[in-house]
Symmetry: C2
Subunit: 233 residues, 2 copies
């Protein structure tokens, strides 16, 4: 019984990877680099994107917005006059808790890839399943809000291992919390040694320039140019 | 293809419900009432439990602690000298993102049900999947941290509909946020009209007495006494 379940899951992940590679090939052909943007619910992904999406010089950014339901985040970003495409996960059972490669593939015809240098795919808020499903991205960014506490990397290690950059958001609230950002950063390094981290605040703008620089470097290198994202950051 | 997937999911949920009913029957026989305690990662479930688990007069509380990995939360609660049982979800693929009835059933032999009035099952932090899997509980409590923003009920409605009580935690941070607790409460009511909400802070203790009262009323009524949890709260 258990072995059967494992096999079914493995086959599902294999199928997902095949479709992810097809997505990646399409992104490469269009010269678009792709970031899979992940976090727990309410960590501030959309607020962070509002800072950079229309305001990263030399890089034309578009967003594929994944949500269980609704289009609130997509509406916020569309107000910035950047290309935004909404993707709702299957609503029949309360929705899927992650984006997979096939969902992203279904959205490709609606994405103006020829107008973009960088596509940010905002995943469903979840610290478990998104890490298991590649969607064709060049790199993954994980947002961990300082308000979520210090120990999230130890409790959800796969998520923190499956990324090339960790943003520690809501850093403006640090004086009001019984949380040590140094311990959070040490926990990140414990599960993913060497991964770069940045302290940011979507509220005050702290650290946003540094993150914008990372995105600009990512978007400035044509997709399919060879080097993995890890080599450049 | 899609229809097949829907059927498989429906069958899985049917099987889960059958096991959940068996769990419920066992809890009823032991006279234990059960709360399924759910939230996004880092919303403060364990910190809230630390306030009440050893300190709710007349109600002997035990905890079944669900985590993808590790036992940090269980260790914190065990320090209060209450019965705590750890349940880790399958680690082979980064772990399951929710508890299901079968996982809880596997833990039943380790639970000292005869010593308890109220068992709190702390679910994996996730705003999607836990809502779809009953585990044999009498009632569900959903914790929404004010730091997660106002719109979570609209983006994850099933989770807020599938509960008998909503705790709005981290209310002490309200002065430092661009968030309206009134709008959050209105959004909760929009997706689940009439559900009781309480503003609480695990940090300052605000609202904890009110929540303790709710738990005491829940734990004081023997399981299997007939009335649903909704009728008493």
């Amino acid at each position: 019984m258990h072995r059967t379940k494992v096999r079914v899951v493995e086959e599902a992940l294999d199928a997902n990877n095949t479709i992810a590679q097809a997505n990646r090939a399409d992104f490469d052909r269009a010269g678009v680099r792709v970031v899979n943007f992940m976090s727990a619910p309410g960590a501030g992904k959309t607020s962070l994107l509002e800072h950079v999406a229309a305001d990263t010089p030399g890089v034309r950014i578009g967003v594929l917005e994944g949500d269980v339901q609704g289009s609130m985040d997509a509406d916020r970003l569309a107000a910035l006059h950047i290309p935004v495409t909404q993707l709702n996960t299957d609503p029949s059972f309360g929705g899927e808790c992650h984006l997979d490669a096939n969902m992203v593939r279904s959205a490709l015809p609606e994405l103006p890839l020829e107008e973009l240098d960088l596509l940010v795919i905002e995943n469903v808020g979840n610290l478990v399943c998104p890490a298991e499903f590649k969607v064709g991205e060049d790199a993954r960014i994980m947002v961990s809000a300082i308000t979520e506490g210090e120990e999230k990397p130890l409790k959800y290690p796969l998520m923190f291992r499956a990324c090339e950059l960790v943003l520690i958001n809501k850093i403006d609230l640090l004086p009001h919390l019984d949380v040590s950002v140094e311990r959070l950063e040490a926990n990140v390094q414990a599960v993913h040694p060497g991964v770069p981290t940045m302290r940011v605040s979507a509220r005050t703008g702290e650290g946003i320039d540094e993150w914008r620089g990372w995105l600009a470097r990512m978007g400035a290198v044509p997709s399919g140019a060879g080097a993995g994202a890890e080599a450049r950051v």
